[in-house]
């Protein structure tokens, strides 16, 4: 007995020593990894703050020219307009997608109707139809037949339905006890009141998760706006970035980096703020 305890006590320091070493190694590896992942962004951050004569030199000290760099692209290169366009489109699509997919999931989970499985299959099957592959026909439809080229409609309406969202909410609703819906019905509550007072408050994490995915997805869209938006007045900021680089002659890298930083802020902000919901909403604890 006493010997046992002695051995434990003797073993303890070496175990904790090994653990300390392994922790130190983990820290070292993580610091290197974090640094490597961050290098392109750090470089852009520094260069965005330097005045024109320093930007193209190896100088890596931050300067004080961020706002003058930003000012050049914001007004002269139309970045302000592009940002506003992206914001309008992204918010419209995120809100629209959330509403449409909540309603669709409500129908799928709480109703029985003919062709229900077929409808669900039709929604799910659209995952196999990426917009990128349909651009030829979609361009024809949206610009020629609907006449929506150069309007916000062209980059909002086609993206309002979401198989991902419908699927995500359906999964989530199915995990909510049915007794809640039964109780609501017995109390004389219609499906919309049930949605408003029971489902939505229970779905905040799912809504947050979906908002992050959709915000990042819509804000980062590139190919479709590039193709459909000929007018600069309605162009989104991702395609705008391409125009900043393509000014002809010498690229104003300080201004371009300032533009890139500002472009990546909104999705980064949404992601950082909603990161908890993002993780809880669909990744963490889903099997429990």
């Amino acid at each position: 007995m006493a010997l046992d305890r002695l051995e434990v006590r003797r073993a303890a320091p070496s175990v904790s020593g090994r653990r300390r070493l392994s922790h130190a190694l983990t820290h070292a590896a993580l610091i290197v990894a974090v640094f490597l992942v961050a290098v392109p962004l750090l470089f852009a951050l520094v260069k965005a703050t330097q005045p024109s004569d320093q930007v193209i030199t190896p100088n890596l000290l931050p300067g004080g020219a961020f706002f003058s760099n930003l000012g050049r692209v914001w007004t002269e290169a139309n970045l302000g307009r592009y940002m506003l366009n992206s914001l309008i489109v992204t918010v419209a699509v995120v809100v629209g997608k959330t509403i449409l997919s909540v309603l669709a999931a409500l129908a799928f989970v709480y109703f029985r109707f003919p062709l229900r499985s077929l409808s669900f299959a039709l929604v799910l099957f659209t995952l196999m139809l990426p917009t990128e592959l349909l651009i030829v026909a979609l361009f024809d439809l949206v610009s020629t037949r609907l006449g929506w080229a150069n309007s916000y409609l062209a980059i909002i309406v086609p993206f309002l339905a979401s198989a991902t969202g419908t699927f995500l909410f359906r999964q989530h609703f199915m995990n909510i006890p049915t007794s809640l819906a039964d109780a609501a019905r017995i109390d004389g509550c219609g499906p919309l009141l049930f949605l408003r007072h029971v489902l939505l408050p229970l779905s905040l994490n799912t809504i947050g998760a979906l908002a992050v995915i959709q915000f990042v997805y819509v804000w980062d869209q590139y190919l479709w706006p590039l193709v459909i938006m000929q007018s600069d007045e309605r162009q989104v900021v991702q395609v705008g970035l391409r125009k900043l680089i393509d000014v002809g002659g010498q690229t104003d890298w300080g201004a371009v980096m300032a533009g890139a930083i500002v472009t990546l802020l909104p999705p980064l902000l949404v992601f950082t703020v909603l990161q908890e919901q993002f993780s809880k909403g669909f990744a963490l604890g889903q099997d429990k």
Binding site: A33, L122, A137, F139, T164, P267, T272, G285
Partner: protein
Amino acid sequence: MTVIPTAPTEAAPAARETTAAPAFRGRLLPWLFLAPTLLVLAVFLYLPAAQTLSLSTYRSNIVLGTRQFVGLSNFAELLSSPAYRQVAGQTLAFVALVVVLGLGLGLGLAWLASRPIRGGRIYRLLLIFPYALSPAVAGTLWLFLFNPEVGAVNQLLGSLFGVRPRWLDDPTLAFGLVTAAAVWKGLGYNVVFYLAALTNLPKEVLEAAEIDGANGWQSFWRVVVPLLSPMTFFLLFTNVVYALFDSFGLVDILTRGGPVEGQAGVTTFLVYQLYEDAFRNFRTGIAAAEAVLMLLLVGVITLLQFRFGSRRVHYGA
């Protein structure tokens, strides 16, 4: 394209659905709720998909306004074209590299960041932020970093070793650069999902392994990696889709598909080729046929995901 993030748990609640009675009644109401979604999908996905199919059998030119039915000859032309075959081949190489490197690095970093160490939260946040960056922003940052004259990489290489590679003009370097940028940009996504899966691992199994005397390395390879296989499988497909489609913005800003070697630009991947044929060369029929071929590819990938996805192991409660 968005990808279903919940796929790994799909099988779980299926049983309840068939047995439960409907909570609400109504004939019209469910259709009213579904109508907006179904309408948008029908008009903006199914209709264009059908049209793409029909367009692929025509030789047409938007600019000239010509249109002639040619049957399957667009497909025959594509499949026998050395340039298209080169594009398809390098796309597959690119996808394979992005997937293998992205999953490997993602898992390794998630494993490190999930260990109970001080500041874990900060490490995790700093590792996953590239998720929020767009391919266009990533392309812009890398374009400047690897600019041969004023980029930081060549300024460093130049002062240390006296070399200043032409990153975007050399075929091998350009291909590698686009691949590396795609891996970097996709890393955050993989780390997020691996972290989630790691947090969900049953603690008892890991403790049991530790009691049995497994060291960190052994429990990682023998216990963690097998337990993570459902997530790996899910990420395999999302990464393939990411590499196939989201690479467009990166390629367009970094290399515009070039530099040319052989029959085509080495960073011209299938989606980029589709865009070029549709909106630069105005070969609408050919572009539609390319889209159909890619739809087949995506269809096979998705079917594989559902086929094998539902058989995945389930663990936890």
